[in-house]
Amino acid sequence: MNTKRRLFLKGSMAAGAAGVAMSAGLLTPGMVLAAWNEGAFKAKSVDEALSALMGSSSTEAGKIKIKAPDIAENGAVVPVTVSTDMGGVDTIAILASNNPTPLTSSYELGEGALPYVSTRIKMGKTGKVIAVVKSGGKLYSASKEVKVTIGGCGG
């Protein structure tokens, strides 16, 4: 019997199995993306991002507190805290108006979660930090100007 031919077949089968495993591995990030709102995060303007994320871009002024520095020396690390006294909040979004893609993050509040989120964001240049809160199907927003002396997106 031709052993070389047998060996070749075995080798190609092993490679085939590896290929299947590879493509299965590649599928997982795609599945993650389904939950992650790609359209909203890739949107290039605040309005577009809000429409994609919340279904509407019209917001009312709300009693939302934004704690962020007036001047951020380093745009790569801008601490932002968003809180509100409103009830029934189910989503909070934090946007930076002058970033290439303004939506930095969004938070889905589960049962019991209080409308309070604190994190650190990157800002490319001076602009507004906008907090949008969804409460009872309506959107409320507030913003705060943050001056950035060194950008955090280039480098």
Partner: protein
């Protein structure tokens, strides 16, 4: 993966304050490698989920505009000292990590 999540959760007057630090590069995909001039591929956490008794308390959706080694803090009602929290993250390259922490 090695331990990437540091959590501190404290209950006070029925409200639990959760603070976490995750070690992650959080590359936005817009930065250039100074030596080669090539863009560094995006690598950032997309989702951070915190569960308390199997109930999702907070789901954070992130982009590359969250700072390197991200910090996140939030509060929720209904947790008590001794309860455990499960925190997990997934990034855009399919990597993930999770941990459980006790509320103090």
């Amino acid at each position: 993966m090695a331990k990437t999540i540091k959590v501190r959760a404290r209950a006070k007057d029925g409200v639990v304050t959760v603070k976490m630090l995750i070690s992650h590069p959080m590359e936005s995909g817009r930065r250039k490698n100074k030596k080669t001039g090539k863009l560094i591929p995006a690598h950032f956490i997309q989702e951070v989920v915190t569960e308390h008794n199997g109930n999702k308390v907070l789901v954070a959706n992130w982009s590359g505009a969250i700072s390197k080694n991200p910090y996140l803090s939030f509060k929720f009602k209904g947790g008590a000292a001794g309860d455990s929290l499960k925190i997990s993250w997934v990034d855009n390259q399919g990597k993930s990590d999770s941990t459980t922490a006790k509320i103090k």
